[in-house]
């Protein structure tokens, strides 16, 4: 089992979780379910939550943010600790989360969002 960078993957996942539940709670969500699974080569996170209808468009944009066409590992190395760190402003670092993860899937239905993230060890 390749777990050379398990520690780093775990820390990054914690920051990503922070961003995601903050997003859903700020979008008027009342319950956020988090499920994290350690797989052979990485960590997989499943987030399910509801949100208020007025945030539908914002949530629908999430897929583009979390699944960028290009990922820049050098940018992530310098800035990944900014994700989830600031709870003071309304600025999110979801674009940074998109850069940090290796895979992401977003499914947004009416008032419900399911987000799956994967970070390799």
């Amino acid at each position: 089992m390749k777990q050379k960078h398990l520690h780093m993957a775990r820390r990054k996942m914690c920051h990503a979780i922070d961003e995601l539940y903050t997003l859903l709670l700020r979008a008027g969500g009342e319950a956020v379910d988090l499920r994290i699974r350690r797989e052979a080569e990485g960590l997989r996170l499943l987030v399910k939550g509801d949100f208020s209808p007025e945030h539908q468009t914002e949530l629908e944009r999430l897929e583009a943010v979390l699944c960028p066409p290009v990922r820049d590992p050098a940018l992530v190395e310098e800035f990944w600790e900014l994700a989830g760190g600031d709870q003071y402003t309304n600025d999110s670092e979801l674009a940074l989360v998109g850069q940090m993860v290796d895979e992401a899937q977003v499914r947004v239905e009416e008032g419900q969002a399911t987000i799956e993230l994967y970070i390799r060890f």
């Binding site: 050379k4 709670l25 700020r26 699944c67 960028p68 066409p69 290009v70 990922r71 820049d72 590992p73 050098a74 940018l75 992530v76 190395e77 310098e78 800035f79 990944w80 600790e81 900014l82 760190g85 600031d86 003071y88 402003t89 309304n90 600025d91 670092e93 674009a95 940074l96 850069q99």
Partner: protein, 421 residues
């Protein structure tokens, strides 16, 4: 759909790569045109072997042609490194490359930067990671290259090569972890993060060397006779960026205006968040603000001032835009005007006024008043930070901006009402 986005990103990446090669070529051709004889190579060599501490103008050392050739070579090598490492030409990459080209006009050169790059590579080997992950950090880290030059020139004969290599490697090895830490301190409000971390690394290294009896004295130089040539160069570069941005699709104020809604706080990669075209137009306009400011003051352009304009231009792909840089600059100008001992046209003040824009995210996030306050404090602090690292950190304004954040951000957060949920 996803494939289309990937294809578009790949195409934009190739365009930006060619554009950076084009800029390196433009600098080289311009260098040869303005100094069309063998003195350009003698000047280039003199810059490699010369002093580099703050504020040294390589135009005084090697002539305008030699200095521009140095910038072209450093930009070319950096661009090829980014490409070789298969990194995308993102906003962060553009910022990094413009800083490499710019600061080649204020102290960086191939000889004093190479040991630091080697140190970054060794750190990557130590962490068993690809070097690509640390490339930006290491390239930004070459801001401590004056230390390498200093040891090359002033260490005991016989120890010069070893000491400069060892110093550069240690700096390159230490900067990545320190930079990853300092970003937590300023929370992304200082765009010159590595300048901040390099200030601390520089403080540590120079303090140890001072303890061993080394005295840091920088000669300093400031040219004034290449104004017209440099105006043509900067004007052509900024107009070229504007034109490239328009050609790449940023053809209306509505499209461009979207960029002004970003606070600029890291990570604000305008190439990814908006589009390469919008980012390039923003680079032309934001760099233009610095250029116009210097023209209004009737200050003759030289290496360090062109460096500042290029720094503003580069970071306009990664956080800066006219709406968030102007308040910070206004605060710095006000500070200088009120402090009798800091004249507006003094070299260090000019650099601080243009480079305080590393604090632009404060204006973008908290409004122009707080941005101006940050610029005001920055101007006061930056007058006293250079002594801490002996003038060996070329990103002294990045160091001061980080210290400004430590002072200003908690106060803003304490005084402002909590954001609405």
């Amino acid at each position: 759909m996803e494939r289309t986005a990937e294809r578009q990103a790949a195409r934009a990446n190739t365009v930006l790569f060619r554009m950076m090669l084009g800029i390196a070529g433009f600098l080289a051709v311009f260098a040869v045109v303005v100094q069309p004889n063998s003195s350009i190579f003698q000047g280039f060599w003199a810059i490699q072997m010369g002093e580099a501490g703050l504020i040294t103008d390589p135009i005084c050392t090697g002539g305008v042609g030699g200095a521009l050739l140095n910038a072209a070579v450093l930009l070319l090598v950096s661009t090829l490194l980014v490409r070789w490492m298969r990194l995308p030409f993102s906003g962060a990459a553009l910022a990094c490359l413009f800083m490499m080209a710019g600061f080649a006009l204020l102290g960086k050169n191939l000889i004093n930067s190479t040991p630091i790059l080697l140190g970054g590579w060794l750190y990557a080997r130590y962490k068993r990671e690809p070097f690509s992950k640390y490339l930006y950090l290491t390239m930004f880290g070459t801001c401590l290259s004056p230390l390498v030059s200093f040891l090359m020139l002033h260490a005991r004969p016989g120890l010069r090569l070893v000491s400069m290599l060892a110093c550069g490697v240690v700096i390159g090895f230490l900067l990545p972890p320190v930079s990853a830490y300092t970003v937590r301190i300023h929370q992304g409000y200082n765009l010159y993060n590595v300048g901040f971390s390099a200030g601390f690394v520089g403080l540590g290294v120079t303090s140890i060397l001072k303890g061993c009896g080394v005295t840091f004295v920088t000669q300093g130089s400031w040219s004034e006779d290449s104004h017209v040539l440099l105006c043509v160069l900067v004007g052509a570069l900024l107009l070229g960026l504007l034109a490239a941005g328009i050609l790449l699709g940023c053809r209306s104020l509505r499209i461009y205006g979207r960029i002004l809604h970003h606070s600029g706080r890291a990570v604000a990669d305008f190439v990814a968040l908006e589009s390469p075209g919008t980012a390039l137009v923003n680079m032309g306009l934001t760099g233009g603000i610095g250029f116009v400011y210097l023209l209004v003051l009737r200050v003759p352009l030289n290496g360090p001032l062109v460096c500042c304009i290029l720094a503003m231009t580069g970071f306009a792909a990664f956080g800066k835009h006219p709406k968030n840089v102007v308040p910070v600059m206004a605060g710095a100008i006000l500070s200088s005007a009120l402090m009798g001992h800091v004249p507006l046209t003094a070299p260090a003040t000019l650099l601080a006024t243009l480079l305080c824009t590393g604090l632009a995210p404060i204006a973008g996030q908290f409004g122009w008043k707080w941005g101006a306050a940050a610029g005001f404090v920055h101007m006061a602090i930056v007058q006293h930070t250079s002594i801490l690292h002996g003038g060996m950190n070329l990103y002294n304004n990045g160091f001061a901006a980080g210290l400004t954040c430590i002072l200003v951000i908690p106060i803003i957060e304490a005084l402002r009402p909590e954001p609405k949920e």
